[in-house]
Symmetry: C2
Subunit: 656 residues, 2 copies
């Protein structure tokens, strides 16, 4: 048989050759370094056979895929350590059951059904034992068993989970196991792939936590104990990740939301339904104002379509058929059923249909800041980043096919300019395209033209993008903005989608230049996504130290004694007249306490007024945005803060 | 027996004396002028007996109540004319049925079940016959029948409606009839009161329209034909009323909404749920911006609490018990029932409760522009003035009892300043106070102090007010702003209510100066009421010619030929940069058509650009706000429009 190597060369091999055979055939050095192979792009291990004619690449530790193998093998090593721990405690082997142990981003987990709850000390012990098992450098041996025998093995162990997993495998599929450390070691039902030996695992791993997890994610099934671990190729990567987690905890927007008095949740209102306190509402308002300004400048028109519609509309649009699970239940009023809006598109199309339109009206850009309601599972809710009430900065652009490129480019520009204002410059676009399967509506030519239009727009706007074939929605291609925050975490924010189907379902029409009727294409587009989620993201991005223009209170004026209070109030008035959000410290509060309170609220400027300042019409200020200064001209200070806030400056030049 | 007269004198009368007897005892002149009496303040007719010791006032045509009597008698006269018309057509008397015929504002109506539909010609005939019946000067004779006899009479006539009315009367109540023109004339089951003779009816009446009306307003009962009429004491009043109606028709905000492309309704969305087109959304946005600015300037804080809550909250607040009929049905999600918010108060109180509060935080003024949902009966819906989705400019002020007066005064000031911006200067306040009945919570002293505080605030703010005893809600006194529009029609707009009960129901607390806990008083307050309703009112008030600052498009730039288009676009850019909402006429549109379109949209300024204007950097403009001018400096024009829009000027000084 033969396989093809990355350099295009053909390699002749004996029948049933494995990945290891390939590496050895290339050379002994590579054979020693080999940790796995990619066969036709798919990761596999050295023990598995390669197919005739396949493209084969050898994976070494320099390859990013090596960590996939290591993380998977670590899950088995952890399972062995857990099993040993409980056996050493004298537990019955028949009471130690295992669910699944997959690789996840940055690490791995394994689900266990154990005689007792795990505690933090257990994790220390398990991790220590894992390091010994890694050092023991045990080979992982793969073998297959007939279905009956495999079932028999786990039935004997009284293990319901593995039995269920095997029963769910299609008959005819090979049932494979990986064994490490021989019969005394650990064997697991597993499809692989794995490293050849535990000794190849880099030591840069750490067990993180234990959490409850329903078997197969189903709330009606037993709850297992899930141990999470992280693992990296280098010490630096592990440390960076742990720092990132530590930072993220400090920056947790839920914690910041409480501390900065921005928002809250209440049992009486409902999960996933945030309430915004005055400071949070001010931020929302500023965020939406920014997008509204940009949209207005770029010829978008704002509309208002409320929050509920008759269910019939969603019958027509197809949302009841495809999206009902994500919607709140209907309000049944006699014969009429109403639904809260989970999306604006059907309402915007209804509004489009209420007026006569000719080709001269296109492109018609309809924008709305509407709060939408989606019945996310309660387990999925997370502060502001996953809510049930979300205010999208949404728009629908009705256009011709020829206008897709320019409208897409315009949408890209608005998104980029907006992210720029927040200093989010590290992003790329994922362009989701049609795959080969037949779920897509509209003909291939239409798709091809739209795809070309999107690529051309991305190129002309100079946006970095990656293509994901087969990831498009059935109704058209789309572009998602993936932005990295200050901790390097990736967030999906803005989205732009082409829609070939809904406009015709809802009967949208315009009169073309030759007097005939045609259906417009619609681009669905959000700038920051939703106000709630974006606020959560930027709170974490800035660790609560948001830019001056966005700060709910921009200046806190602190009189040194109550004697200076009248002067402080005068300064507040001046600041407010200049459009600055300013307030004075509470009456009777001591200066140090007042300064401390303002610091806890992360107010960008604290202006302190005493005798000297008032005599000379000056302020002394402490700032989170620039060096502190004493004895600055008060009017110059007002002007400085006002100008920087109005300009939405991210970096502030110190006041000279 | 004796009665008391308005001048305090006592009048001795024989037993069973009637109103007529009272008038005659005072003097023959008054007896001739007498049309009715008021007995202890209640209108009655001359035939009815007066009670021993009652206060009696004689009603003559100079008394406003005389028209109450005349309108009621007109309903009977109309019924007689209708009956005669159909009898003359040869209809079977058993097929002519009558429902009820009450007095309404400015007139009267009567509901009929007839063998055929009425048409406009019928109204002319009926009205002509009514004038004859008035001239015939028939006396109205009142008499009572025993229940059985009364029922028998209508059963014989096969009249289901009157039978039902009698059956619904409590047994023991007198069943009275009024007969006019003897047995040949017309007799009706009626409680009265009426004029003594048809000849006393002033001739200033007119039949207006026929409309379908369900028997007793119940959609499951038969639909009757209702004839509406208006009637006034003088020709001038009738003419003014007819002019007002004619004007109102032209100004109908639903018509203006279509013509000015502001808003629409759609079957797929639902009745009472308006959709705002871009021009309407711009107006909403400007209106809310105005109130937000005022509120911010006066120390209100804005919050955001979404649109749905758990039903439990409304169980606690008492809304489920008292307000469920006005709410949309619940969304039932497993064990949880959610409701759309019909009011913000419980949400604002929940938000209040989420934070610790001391007396230093009071008064705490929480404002929100939240869209509320109320399931108004479909028959009550009317364009924007009665909708199911209403965006209140709502606020709740948490304060101490001592702060009621100053907070109420501040609320009055915001309302007045806001109404001023719209040029609504003709208003008064109806102050609804506690009555004698026992439905009110909180003790008398608390009510008395609050009532004094409201009066003092109204006096200090110089607001005209009338007191309405017994009109207060059970939870506290309130003040409603009644404003007259350009046609003199009265609208209830803003409202300020004192609430002694809900804060304690929802457990609102603050820590007082001595460290104990206390419940705040809450003022509920809206400025314009709701954005939707207020928009409807001011569209009619201004007949669509809204002030410059509020106009969705402030300047339409029209190039004389396409040759001048580039210059026109340049002017649009300049205007926009100055914050003016401006647009250019469609490409290829002829100048006259473009001007006409802008006029139909009532755009305040049309700037026309030709060779001369462009050569000299000038514009010629037509304006709805000031005299037209040619050859004005373009920059001066931009500055002029921008400054007047920013200042929200109502009257515009012509550009010099």
């Amino acid at each position: 048989m033969h396989v093809l190597l990355p350099d295009g060369k053909q390699l002749d091999l004996p029948q049933h050759a494995t990945g290891k055979d390939v590496a050895e055939a290339i050379g002994p050095g590579l054979a020693r370094a080999a940790l796995g192979v990619r066969v036709n792009g798919k990761l596999s291990d050295l023990q598995s056979q390669v197919q005739e004619g396949a493209n084969v690449e050898v994976v070494t530790k320099r390859d990013a895929d090596a960590m996939q193998l290591a993380r998977h093998t670590l899950a088995h090593v952890m399972a062995q350590a857990v099993q040993e721990l409980f056996m050493a405690e004298g537990a019955d082997r028949h009471r130690i059951h295992m669910g699944i142990g997959p690789v996840i981003e940055n690490g791995f987990y394994y689900d266990f059904d154990l005689p007792r709850s795990l505690n933090p000390d257990d994790l220390v012990k398990i991790e220590a034992r894992m390091r010994e098992l890694v050092k023991a450098d045990m080979p992982l041996v793969k073998y297959a068993l007939p279905r009956d025998e495999a079932l028999e093995r786990y039935r004997e162990l009284g293990d319901p989970y593995k039995v269920e997993l095997i029963e769910d495998l299609p008959t005819g599929e090979a049932i494979t196991f990986y064994e490490q450390g021989g019969a005394e070691g650990f064997t697991d039902l597993c499809r692989g792939p794995h490293l050849p030996r535990t000794g190849s695992i880099p030591p840069h791993f750490k067990l993180m936590s234990v959490a409850g997890a329903y078997w197969r994610g189903d709330e009606t099934r037993p709850m297992l104990q899930r141990i999470y671990g992280v693992a990296f190729a280098t010490k630096e990567e592990l440390e960076h990740h742990l720092w990132q987690l530590e930072e993220a905890k400090k920056r947790d927007h839920r914690k910041l939301g409480r501390e900065l008095k921005l928002f809250t949740f209440a049992d009486d209102i409902g999960p996933g339904l945030p309430l915004f306190l005055p400071r949070g509402e001010t931020m929302r308002h500023e965020m939406e104002k920014l997008v509204r300004e940009k949209q207005t400048a770029y010829g978008y028109q704002h509309v208002w379509t409320g929050h509920m519609v008759k269910e019939e509309l969603y019958q027509k649009s197809g949302h009841i058929a495809n999206y009902a699970d994500d919607m709140f239940p209907p309000m049944v009023d006699g014969d009429v059923r109403y639904r809260l809006k989970p999306m604006n598109c059907p309402s915007h199309m209804t509004l489009f249909n209420s007026q006569f339109h000719s080709y001269r009206d296109l492109p018609l850009r309809m924008a709305e800041f509407a709060t939408l309601y989606r019945n996310e599972r309660s387990g999925q809710l997370a502060g502001l980043t996953r809510v049930r009430s979300l205010t999208q900065d949404d728009a629908h652009i009705f256009c011709t096919e020829e206008q897709i490129q320019s409208e897409f480019a315009l949408a890209l520009r608005i998104v980029r300019e907006t992210l720029d204002v927040y200093g989010l410059k590290d992003y790329y676009v994922q362009l989701s395209l049609k795959g080969d399967e037949g779920k897509y509506v509209a003909d291939d030519d239409k798709w091809a033209r739209a795809t070309e239009a999107l690529r051309a727009a991305l190129d002309s706007e100079g946006v970095e993008y990656v293509e994901a074939e087969g990831e498009a929605a059935f109704y058209g291609p789309k572009a998602d903005f993936m932005a990295s925050d200050a901790l390097g975490r990736e967030w999906q924010l803005s989205t732009i989608q082409v829609d070939f189907i809904q406009p015709s379902r809802l009967g949208c029409e315009y009169v073309t230049e030759d007097g005939s009727k045609a259906t417009p294409v619609v681009l669905h587009r959000a700038v920051t996504g939703s106000t709630e989620r974006f606020l959560g993201v930027i709170l974490e991005h800035f660790a609560g130290d948001v830019p001056l223009w966005l700060a709910p209170e921009q200046v806190r004026v602190v009189p040194i004694t109550d004697h200076h209070r009248a002067g402080a109030l005068e300064l507040v008035e001046k600041l407010r007249a200049a459009g600055v959000r300013a307030d004075v410290a509470d009456e009777g509060e001591r200066m140090n306490a007042a300064v401390r309170e303002a610091e806890l609220l992360k107010i960008p400027y604290i202006a302190i007024l005493g005798d000297r300042e008032l005599e000379n019409a000056q302020v002394s200020f402490r700032s989170r945005k620039e060096p502190n200064q004493n004895g600055v001209d008060a009017d110059a200070f007002v002007q400085h803060v006002s100008a920087n806030a109005k300009a939405r400056a991210l970096e502030i030049e110190p006041l000279a």
